[in-house]
């Protein structure tokens, strides 16, 4: 159990470093601000207790807020996404998934399911984040463009991460 927690902390540190050092420095345009740190919440095993997911999302958002000098934006977005994730997984996972204690990853659930799952969660997260960032509905369509473009890039980066980091598991399974 402790080993497991340690592994997840290490994974979070790694994802956070990638987010802060690499992804935050992607300066494609001001409409592309991918946030891949949410993949940590997305990839938690399906068996994690619901209130743990909510609490973890809150903490992940708080850490991200501290590093991007934004008060509460990432907390609000990540927390909401964590809550939706609970219900989304409840609706789309099978009994075997829960018994097998799997993580909702690309190799476990298949490409279509995983892409759709990521896209939905990312859209929810980015919608809340970017609208709170501008704090109102002025520049509505610019914000909408920002949400869609950033979500697409985020999903692509998460997929890329899956292919790079989870490949070995795919071979075993």
């Amino acid at each position: 159990m402790i080993l497991e927690i340690f592994t997840y902390l290490l994974r979070f540190a790694l994802i956070l470093l990638i987010q802060l050092l690499v992804v935050n420095n992607i300066e494609l345009s001001s409409y592309v601000n991918p946030y891949i740190y949410i993949s940590f919440i997305l990839l938690l095993p399906v068996t994690v207790k619901p209130w743990h997911v909510v609490a973890i999302s809150f903490l992940v958002g708080a850490v991200m807020d501290a590093f991007s000098s934004t008060p509460g934006l990432h907390i609000a977005a990540a927390n909401f996404m964590g809550f939706i994730r609970i219900h989304y997984l409840k609706a789309t996972t099978t009994k075997e998934d829960i018994e097998g204690r799997i993580s909702p990853t690309l190799s476990q659930k298949g490409v279509v399911w995983f892409v759709f799952y990521c896209l939905m969660m990312t859209l929810i997260h980015h919608t809340i984040l970017f609208f709170l960032e501008i704090y109102g509905f002025q520049e509505f369509f610019a914000t909408l463009t920002r949400i869609v473009m950033s979500s697409l890039v985020t999903v692509m980066l998460i997929l890329l991460g899956q292919l790079v980091f989870f490949r070995s598991k795919q071979k075993n399974g």
């Binding site: 909510v54 501290a66 590093f67 000098s69 008060p71 907390i75 927390n79 704090y135 520049e139 610019a142």
Partner: protein
């Protein structure tokens, strides 16, 4: 009562989520106004030392560019030295401090963390309360304005970049002195917009934009940029002006923080008028 407890225990996840979500909105609401924004005070200590390590590494790769810009600035300052002027005329030399009292002080600082692509961008500098930095001081680079100090910790301060939704800077057109306010529309870090310039004011492309004398944050006449394009919609009372900024926000590494030594005096006398 039992039913209530049962209800809560059945939906405890939702209630936990709801409580956390509400707390996040409280944080957002409390710290959204940038003058009150001291959220960063709580977090700057830890995160800034991380960013310092990163920026120390990055600065190494930036040295060539920094050298170039410092050389340029040196050249410019040299040309302003009294020794590079030929004295054309005899004027009585006045050495009297009551005539020229220093109003602005410049504190050099270097950029620890910066972003340009977000809608609200912030810059972290390596100067803080120990160096006499306070909120609402102006920040400029060698080529133009950068932003306004937002919150200060012991060794660091965060700057509300000009590339931020909350940043509004009083500017004027150098040629005719027409005032406007400078805002960023969030699309391209090289351009900003100048609002509220009346339609009867004649403007042209390449007109210089400088800071106005209406603010207590920036001295008058700090360069901001040039008019890139302008248009006037029918029925509109104000010009739509797009400004090409002098400061290359993607590439700032050394900046100056401006302390207005007479700010308190001005604020005090202005507050007596309001009451």
């Amino acid at each position: 009562m039992r039913n209530l407890l049962f209800f809560i225990s059945k939906y405890y996840v939702f209630f936990l989520f709801f409580a956390l979500e509400i707390s996040s909105f409280v944080i957002i609401y409390r710290f959204n106004n940038y003058q009150k924004a001291s959220f960063v005070n709580y977090t700057t200590g830890v995160t800034s030392s991380f960013y310092t390590t990163v920026s120390n590494t990055q600065q190494y790769f930036n040295l060539r560019h920094v050298n170039d810009s410092l050389q340029m600035e040196n050249a410019r300052l040299h040309s302003q030295l009294i020794t590079s002027y030929y004295q054309n005329q005899f004027t009585p030399k006045m050495v009297n401090d009551t005539i020229y009292k220093q109003q602005y002080e410049f504190i050099p600082a270097s950029v620890v963390n910066n972003s340009v692509t977000k809608r609200n961008n912030y810059i972290t500098l390596n100067r803080g309360r120990l160096h006499g930095i306070e909120p609402e001081m102006g920040v400029i680079s060698e080529s133009g304005i950068v932003g306004i100090v937002m919150s200060v910790s012991e060794h660091y301060c965060t700057v509300l970049s000009l590339l931020n939704n909350n940043c509004k800077i009083s500017a004027k057109i150098k040629k005719n002195g027409a005032f406007g306010s400078l805002v960023w529309d969030g699309s391209d870090p090289r351009y900003a917009k100048l609002l509220d310039v009346n339609k009867h004011v004649p403007i042209a492309s390449n007109d210089e934009i400088i800071t106005s004398n209406y603010s207590t944050i920036f001295p008058e006449g700090i360069p901001i940029g040039r008019i890139f394009s302008h248009s006037l919609d029918a029925g509109d009372n104000f010009h739509t002006i797009k400004i090409e900024l002098n400061t290359d926000f993607g590439n700032i590494s050394s900046v100056y923080i401006i302390r207005n030594l007479m700010k308190n005096e001005q604020k005090n006398i202005e507050s007596t008028i309001k009451n």
